[in-house]
Assembly symmetry: C2
């Protein structure tokens, strides 16, 4: 397993003092980085945060594998009902290890599809139901709280849909992932005897990909979850090392923090040059946004911090976003995700067309071209003082993807420590949820319905 | 056809003076908005920009329809080879009018799949080839210049792949869209007798969805391109009206411009509450980024302007991005895209489970829930002074989608006029392209190869 981080193009020596950080400044901040590591380590030892332990949970890994082996062959679709952290990890794994959807091979009981129902758009729901056969569908419903409105609503429809075809046997086609012994989904699962897996209390949704939340759907679509956890475990050891040379999570956090504070880059572009890492970019988007976008710091002071993550796909988005990245406001830091070995080269034929736009490519390869495009884009950014850095994965397989996801969770946790915020809560979404409950007439939320009505009245008066 | 725009929540009266615009300021800027309209109208009359004419090109629409009718039934996959503006429009149309990929029904000759090859990732390419049958694939290659490296390379592989199965008949399974009478793709198409469609010189890639670039793939997957153009034509008439009440493109541009200049919101979040509009959000991302991200204004002064577009999907991203949107830096404007009628309601069953998280939802509908979520999110944003606005589409059908795309092109053009920039060029991507040519050994690009080598040497010295 080999994942590298190269921060050279963040340095002032490359992109100038106005937009880069000096190597000497980085060196000076290494004690702060090590303090962040220690501080986070203490919180983990105190039991507050559980994600660093996940890759080592052999009993869980084996129980997921046993369940998957038991149902294997009986379904051609795994229908995941979940949203946010309950869905994005599974998407990252499916896309990363089986390829992006539009070009996945036809699905079958030997190669089941993963259909993620992570929205309450009724036409999306209808299309999903029409595309699935209830007798060949396994439903995995995931909600830590057991009360997420979108997940509960979607599951109500799925459960009825299964029941219409399977009657009382429907329950055997449903697995639930939720908190142990609390919440309404846990209660329902116990009553209806769904297979049930638990999410530890100290693991939040966006840090849960290596719990049953990500491992169960992954195992059900044939991903080797032992290799995934093996890579993540090896990375975990590296992420606890107190040296910036080998601990790339800490080094990346330090570099990003230095740039964010000294040079104010409100946007980070996660820029994989790999279609397989596109799902991971969306998973990262949640991790970085929800963890670091905070109104208050740990002292309770109002700070309104956070960096807006943007997902871009190379080389594709060179033809969509790079014009802005090169010429627009210099308000971004770019993090390229490079892949050394794609497992294929994409050899270009030796077509003899005698046309200049074609001829220089003959006999070369897509692997060489995409590598050239990424390096060319990084160099063009340096020419116009746009700071950028690069993670390089040796390849995209279960071991490397597990390691990369775990590395980014550590990086985010370290970043939270450096910023002095709690990277593990998400208070900001509560008011919207309460307004929704009020609008849907849920008991106990009348006051939010009233507050919403007052807002709407004010808007109408202006409209 | 009914598309509305509501800017109430951009007003200072709703979100406060620090983050909103006063209604009186908007009124005062209406003459500038009308001047922008006139100025753009003059440029179109002078023949500089062609997109406003596209929906009215009946001969093109009919020739595309004739071609599609002629090949109908002979393919189960349309393989689009193109990148950026040559791919995003087709994706927006496919996703919008046939639904997002993971839940599209199995493809067949009666319901062909659209496989978009818009990247040079070799593992993506390999998976795509494995998923397609050369005897049932129709290749559409799209490049305005006829020289785009990614498109040319991908096409070389596709052409050889087709030829291996079909021999000399391969040419009959290829259609090209490119500039008339210039460029190497046009030369090759003429020589090999590919069916060929032309993109007018005064229509750039990101404004080309209603030229053959978008219409040809759309017609080949069964989309009613006459309805698409009918909606766009109706919208075009509205977009030339000199009144802010009925011209929503101008009103939206004015409101966004006022906010961008007076309250500096470097980020715009395009926030559809509809899975079908997800492709359109990525299409918009290119349109807004490439058109408005500019180093110089029309006077040649260095300005480095542009707003970074971000795509978010409601309600899904409430569980991924909204924490940052609500609590992080107040540096964004949110543009919700609402749908009135989803064509399905997603009725929730009257399950009697006696569990509070489920019970309030019984007998309600997903349509009501997603509507409540969007309104709740907008209200929660107003509570914390985050400016937002809303486009509402009556439904997502060919007529409305055609109109909505055309409306956004006009809005972007007006925005360019207000900002005093050329919204139709993309000089910023040239250096990266030249470095790539240099790295790939293309004749005439040795100096860029040398420049790259110097950059890499400097980086290595620091690394």
């Amino acid at each position: 397993m080999r994942i590298q981080f190269d921060e050279t193009n963040l340095l002032a020596e490359m992109v100038g003092d106005a937009h880069g950080v000096r190597r000497s400044d980085l060196a000076a901040s290494s004690s702060a980085a090590l303090a962040a590591l220690k501080s986070f380590q203490k919180r983990v030892e105190d039991g507050n945060y559980g994600f660093p332990h996940l890759p080592f949970q052999k009993p869980l890994i084996e129980s997921v594998r046993r369940y998957a082996a038991g149902v294997s062959g009986s379904y051609d679709t795994v229908c995941l009902v979940g949203i946010g952290g309950s869905a994005l990890g599974a998407w990252a794994l499916d896309c990363g290890l089986r390829g992006p959807h539009p070009v996945q091979p036809a699905f079958s009981t030997r190669n089941p599809r993963l259909a993620i129902l992570d929205n309450v758009d009724p036409s999306f729901m209808q299309a999903a139901l029409e595309s699935m056969n209830p007798r060949k569908t396994l439903v995995v419903v995931i909600a830590k709280s057991g009360a997420t409105a979108e997940t509960v609503a979607t599951f109500m429809i799925l459960q009825e849909w299964l029941g219409r075809s399977l009657g009382k046997k429907a329950g055997a086609r449903i697995a639930a992932v939720t908190s142990q012994g609390k919440g309404d989904l846990a209660a329902l699962a116990a009553r209806e005897q769904y297979a049930t897996f638990h999410l530890p209390d100290n693991v939040g949704g966006r840090f849960s990909v290596l719990s049953a939340v990500g491992l169960l759907p992954a195992a059900l679509i044939g991903i080797d979850i032992r290799k995934l956890c093996k890579g993540a475990a090896a990375m975990t050891h590296l992420c606890w090392r107190p040296g910036l040379e080998e601990n790339i999570a800490l080094r990346a956090a330090q570099a990003h923090y230095a740039l964010l504070t000294a040079r104010n880059k409100p946007i980070q572009v996660a820029f994989p040059y790999s279609n397989r890492l596109w799902g991971t970019a969306f998973w990262f988007r949640q991790l970085w946004a929800e963890s670091l976008g905070k109104a208050k710091n740990r002292k309770g002071e109002i700070v309104h911090v956070g960096q807006t993550p943007v997902a871009a796909l190379g080389a594709t988005d060179q033809h969509s976003q790079v014009q802005l990245y090169i010429e627009g406001p210099n308000d971004k830091v770019f993090t390229f995700w490079a892949v050394e070995n794609f497992g294929a080269t994409g050899r270009l034929p030796k077509t003899k067309w005698d046309l200049p736009a074609f001829d220089y490519l003959r006999g070369q390869s897509l692997a060489k071209l995409i590598d050239a495009e990424r390096r060319a884009t990084a160099a063009a950014m340096v020419e116009v003082s746009r700071p950028n850095c690069t993670f390089t994965l040796q390849r995209v397989d279960a071991e490397h993807l597990g390691a990369f996801l775990q590395m980014m969770e550590f990086e985010t946790a370290f970043m939270g420590e450096l910023m002095g915020i709690d990277a593990f809560d998400q208070e900001g979404v509560e008011l919207g949820k309460k307004f929704t409950f009020g609008l849907m007439g849920r008991e106990g939320y009348q006051s939010y319905r009233d507050q919403f009505a007052a807002y709407e009245k004010a808007a109408k008066a202006l409209g």
